[in-house]
C-alpha cells in the first residue's frame, strides 16, 4: 500500500488552488519542497521548514514527507488534485483533514511613539544583520546607498513608492502606484516584488484596504510582462493581506514594540534576501503611516476570510 503523506496545514491560497484545479504540473522540485502550477496559480508543498504561508501546504509528518520526497516525479510531471488528496508520481498527499492557516489578527490600535521606537530599533538591527544583497538596506539601516548596481537602480524607485504611499495615505492622490520595482532583483521572487509584498501586507495591517487595492491593481496590470508567474501569485496573496507567518509576526511585534530580534531571525531565513526585502517593504509603509498618524492610531478592521 502506498503511504499517503498527510498535509497537516495549508494557507488559504493553497486550499483555493486545490478547490479550483483538478490537474496541474510540477514546476520545481527542491530538497524540502516542490512547487505545483496550474494556470498561473501555485502551491508549494513541503516539510515544516517551509513555514506557514498563503501558498504553502505543510507535511509535518517527517516520515511521510521523507517517503513522498523520494518518490516525487520530475519537473513537468502531471499532478492530479481530487477530493481529499493530491497525487504526483508515486507520491500522494491527503488533504481531507488539513487545517487552514490564517494570519494572526493585527493589533487594532497603538501608540505612534511606540511604533516609531520599534522601527528605530529595527533600523539598528538591520545595520548589522540585513544582507548586502537584495534591497532591504535601501529602506533599512543605512543613511547612504550601498554601492551595488541593484541598490543604485532600486533607490529612486523605492523613493517613488514612498512618495506615492505618503500621498495615498493622506488621500491626496489617485495617481497609479509606481510599480517599477516589479521584477527587480535576484531570485525566483525578485527583491522588488518581495518589497512590494511587504508593503501590501502592511497596508492591510493598517486597515488601508483601498490603498492596498490600488497598489495591487497597478502591480497586476504590469505583472505578466514584468515578473515571474510565481512572484505574481505571492503578490496576489499579499494584496489580500496574506504573507508568511514570520512576516506577520514581525509586523505585529513592531506594532506592539515587542522584541523583534527573534522574529527577524525567522524572517531572515526566508530565501536568500526575500524575508528582509519583504520586511523592508512593510517598514516603508509603517514609517510612512506612523509619520502622519496621531498620537494613537486606530484601525477599523474589515474582516477578511477565504
Amino acid at each position: 500500500m502506498r503511504p499517503v503523506a498527510p498535509i497537516s496545514v495549508w494557507g488559504a491560497h493553497a486550499r483555493r488552488f486545490a478547490q479550483c484545479h483538478v490537474s496541474a504540473h510540477v514546476m520545481a522540485v527542491f530538497a524540502r519542497s516542490f512547487h505545483v502550477q496550474a494556470g498561473g496559480d501555485f502551491v508549494c508543498i513541503g516539510d515544516a521548514s517551509i513555514g506557514k504561508g498563503p501558498l504553502n501546504a505543510i507535511v509535518d509528518d517527517g516520515v511521510g514527507w521523507a517517503w513522498a520526497a523520494r518518490h516525487l516525479p520530475a519537473e513537468g510531471a502531471e499532478v492530479r488534485i481530487g477530493e481529499g488528496g493530491i497525487k504526483c508520481g508515486r507520491a500522494a498527499f491527503a488533504t481531507a483533514e488539513t487545517s487552514i492557516w490564517r494570519p494572526p489578527p493585527w493589533p487594532r490600535s497603538g501608540e505612534r511613539r511606540v511604533l516609531m521606537h520599534a522601527l528605530d530599533d529595527l533600523d539598528r538591527l538591520a545595520c548589522e544583520e540585513a544582507p548586502v544583497d537584495g534591497i532591504a538596506r535601501v529602506v533599512l539601516g543605512s543613511a547612504s546607498l550601498p554601492a551595488s548596481a541593484l541598490a543604485r537602480v532600486a533607490g529612486p524607485r523605492v523613493a517613488r513608492l514612498r512618495e506615492w504611499a505618503s500621498a495615498r495615505l493622506t488621500r491626496l492622490t489617485h495617481e497609479p502606484a509606481p510599480v517599477d520595482l516589479l521584477g527587480l532583483g535576484p531570485g525566483l521572487t525578485p527583491s522588488g516584488d518581495d518589497l512590494l509584498c511587504g508593503a501590501l501586507v502592511a497596508l492591510r495591517a493598517m486597515g488601508q484596504v483601498d490603498a492596498a487595492r490600488d497598489l495591487h491593481a497597478a502591480i497586476a496590470a504590469a505583472a505578466p510582462l514584468a515578473t515571474t508567474p510565481l512572484s505574481a501569485a505571492f503578490l496576489r496573496a499579499a494584496a489580500e493581506g496574506h504573507s508568511s507567518e514570520a512576516l506577520h509576526r514581525t509586523i505585529i511585534a513592531l506594532l506592539e514594540h515587542q522584541s523583534v530580534a527573534r522574529y527577524v531571525k525567522v524572517v531572515a531565513g526566508i530565501g536568500h534576501t526575500s524575508g528582509w526585502d519583504a520586511l523592508a517593504g512593510a517598514v516603508l509603509v509603517l514609517r510612512t503611516f506612523g509619520s502622519m498618524t496621531g498620537q494613537v492610531w486606530r484601525v477599523a478592521r474589515p474582516s477578511i476570510s477565504l
Binding site: A28, A31, G62, A149, P186, T189, A226
Partner: protein, 492 residues
C-alpha cells in the same frame, strides 16, 4: 577585448540561495570580470545592461527565464564559465547529501539556524564525540551519540553532567531512537501511540516497536540509552532519566524496558524505581530474569516478542505452514544476523533448549566461535570484526552474501536463520538483495527461516519485502524469537 556571453535557461527554477551561490562561484572563476544570474524581468535586464553583462540573447529573455550572464577576458573563459554554470545549475537537488542551501559546519552554527532545536544527533569519530556532546549539552540540547569507541569514563562524566542539567544523553553507540514520532538513525516508521520504550539495544527497540505497531498500537517515544548504561560503572543514569521522562509524559501509558541483564545492584535500583510508577512496565532482559521479586506493575518478558505480546495483551500470530525436515545429517542451525540483540536472543533461545551454541559475540553460557564443533553457530555480522572498513549489513546486505553462501554449502547445516531489518538508514531493498544472493538455491540444501523487522510505513514497505522472501521459498516468521523456534522444530 572583453566578451559578453549570455545563456538563457527556460523553466529552470532554483531557490534564491542556490542561485546566489552559483552566481558567486561563476564570478570567482579565472577570467571572469563580472557575472550575474537573474530572472529575465525587464527590471533585471536593465540591471544586467547597466552592469555591462547583457547581450542580444539575454535581451530576449522573458520574465520566467533565467539569464546567465558573464563578461569575460576571452572565449576560453566564457566557455569555462558557462560549463561551470551548467554544472552548478544541473546538480541533483534531491540527493541525500543535501540541497544547495548553506549547511552549518559547527554545532553553534546549526543552533543559530535552528534556535528552537532541543536535540543533537552526533555521529563523528568517538574521540571527538564527547566534545561535541558536551557543546550540545551546554547549549541546552539533549544529545544522541551514534558514535562508538567512547571511553567509559567519558561516558560517565558526560551523563552526570547531563543529569545535573536535566538533559538526556542517549548513547554512546546508540543506533536507534524515536523521539516525538521522529525515527532517528536506524529506526522504523511507527504510528504515535501510548507505549514508551527505553532500550539499551538498537535492533531490540526496532523489533519491539515494529511488533507493537503492526499489532495496532503506537509508540510515544523510544529512548536509546547506549549498551553500557546499566553497567555498575554508569549506574543507569540515562535509563533512570528516560523512565522519569516517560513517567511524566501524559501520552505514555505503558513503558517497555529492553536490555541485556543489568548489573545486579543496578537491576535492584531499576526495579525499585519502576515500582514507584503508576504505569505498567514490561521488563525485557534478554537472557535472564531478575533475582528480586517484581513489583506489581511490572511484567517480565524473556524475549522481544513476549515484550510486544505483553503490551498488546495477546499472542502474536504463530507460524501455520508445514515445516519440511532437513536431511538427517544436517542438524545444525546457522544464524546470520544484522542485529546484535537478535543474535543474542537466538543464542538464548537455543541454549534454553539445551543446545550448544557458539558465536562471535557469545552470551553467557555460549562459547566463542571455534570452541566447539557441531555447535549451532550464531553470527552477529554487525560486530566490529565484520564491519571494519565495510558498511554495516543493515546498510549493505551484500556483506552477508559470503557467509550465507558458505552456510548453504555446509552439509551439516539444516536451517539458516536470518533477520531482515527495514526502516530508515537500512538498505532500500534488503529482501531483493537477499533473493539475488540466493541465486539458484530454490529450497534445495538448508532451509531458510527469516523474520522481517519493519512496518508498512517504512520506506521498504514490509509486505513487499515479505512477499519477495516468500516467493523465493523462505519461511517467514512473525518475530526473531519465532524464527529461532521454527528452526529448532525443523532440526529436532
Amino acid at each position: 577585448m572583453l566578451i559578453i556571453r549570455n545563456e538563457i535557461r527556460k523553466g529552470l527554477y532554483l531557490d534564491s540561495v542556490a542561485l546566489m551561490r552559483a552566481a558567486r562561484a561563476i564570478a570567482a572563476l579565472p577570467g571572469v570580470e563580472e557575472a550575474g544570474m537573474m530572472m529575465g524581468t525587464p527590471a533585471n535586464k536593465e540591471i544586467l545592461r547597466e552592469a555591462g553583462v547583457l547581450d542580444e540573447a539575454g535581451a530576449q529573455a522573458g520574465p520566467g527565464d533565467l539569464v546567465i550572464a558573464v563578461r569575460v577576458r576571452d572565449a576560453d573563459a566564457a566557455a569555462a564559465a558557462m560549463t561551470e554554470a551548467r554544472r552548478l545549475l544541473d546538480q541533483p537537488r534531491r540527493s541525500e547529501a543535501g540541497d544547495a542551501s548553506w549547511q552549518p559546519r559547527t554545532l553553534r552554527g546549526a543552533v543559530e539556524q535552528m534556535p528552537d532545536a532541543n536535540l543533537a544527533l552526533i555521529s563523528v569519530p568517538g574521540d571527538f564525540a564527547v566534545a561535541e556532546a558536551r557543546k550540545g549539552l551546554r547549549r541546552g540540547l539533549n544529545v544522541m551519540i551514534f558514535s562508538d569507541n567512547v571511553p567509559l569514563g567519558q561516558e560517565i562524566a558526560l551523563k552526570r553532567e547531563a543529569r545535573d542539567l536535566g538533559l538526556l544523553v542517549m548513547g554512546p553507540d546508540c543506533g536507534t531512537a524515536i523521539i516525538g514520532g521522529v525515527p532517528l538513525a536506524f529506526a522504523n516508521s511507527v504510528p504515535r501511540g501510548d507505549v514508551g520504550i527505553v532500550g539499551a539495544s538498537g535492533t531490540g527497540i526496532q523489533e519491539v516497536s515494529c511488533l507493537i505497531a503492526n499489532g495496532g498500537r503506537g509508540i510515544s517515544h523510544a529512548i536509546g540509552t547506549g549498551g553500557r548504561d546499566l553497567t555498575q560503572e554508569v549506574g543507569g543514569i540515562t535509563t533512570f532519566a528516560a523512565i522519569d521522562l516517560l513517567d511524566k509524559d501524559p501520552a505514555t501509558r505503558h513503558i517497555v524496558l529492553i536490555s541485556k541483564p543489568p548489573a545486579r545492584e543496578v537491576a535492584k535500583q531499576v526495579l525499585a524505581r519502576v515500582g514507584k510508577s503508576a504505569k505498567p512496565f514490561t521488563l525485557c532482559l534478554i537472557g535472564s530474569r531478575p533475582d528480586a521479586a517484581l513489583p506489581a506493575n511490572v511484567r517480565f518478558a524473556g524475549t522481544l516478542a513476549e515484550a510486544a505480546e505483553a503490551v498488546l495483551g495477546r499472542k502474536l500470530a504463530a507460524y501455520q505452514g508445514a515445516l519440511p525436515k532437513p536431511a538427517s545429517a544436517a542438524k545444525l542451525i546457522r544464524g546470520l544476523f544484522c542485529g546484535g540483540t537478535l543474535c543474542s536472543e537466538a543464542q538464548m533461545i537455543l541454549q534454553r533448549s539445551g543446545l550448544d551454541v557458539v558465536s562471535n559475540v557469545p552470551v553467557p553460557g555460549a562459547e566463542r566461535l571455534g570452541a566447539k564443533r557441531n555447535a549451532h553457530m550464531m553470527i552477529d555480522l554487525g560486530d566490529d570484526e565484520f564491519t571494519r572498513g565495510r558498511p554495516h549489513p543493515m546498510i549493505e546486505p551484500a556483506t552477508r552474501d559470503a557467509p550465507l553462501a558458505e552456510a548453504l554449502a555446509d552439509e551439516t547445516v539444516g536451517v539458516v536463520v536470518l533477520d531482515v531489518v527495514l526502516g530508515w538508514g537500512s538498505h532500500p531493498d534488503p529482501a531483493g538483495q537477499l533473493v539475488r544472493a540466493l541465486g539458484n538455491w530454490a529450497g534445495t540444501g538448508p532451509m531458510i527461516v527469516a523474520s522481517v523487522v519493519g512496518t508498512e510505513a517504512d520506506p521498504q514497505v514490509r509486505s513487499s519485502q515479505v512477499r519477495k522472501l516468500a516467493d523465493a521459498g523462505i519461511i517467514l516468521a512473525a518475530s526473531n524469537a519465532s524464527a529461532t523456534e521454527i528452526a529448532l522444530q525443523c532440526v529436532r
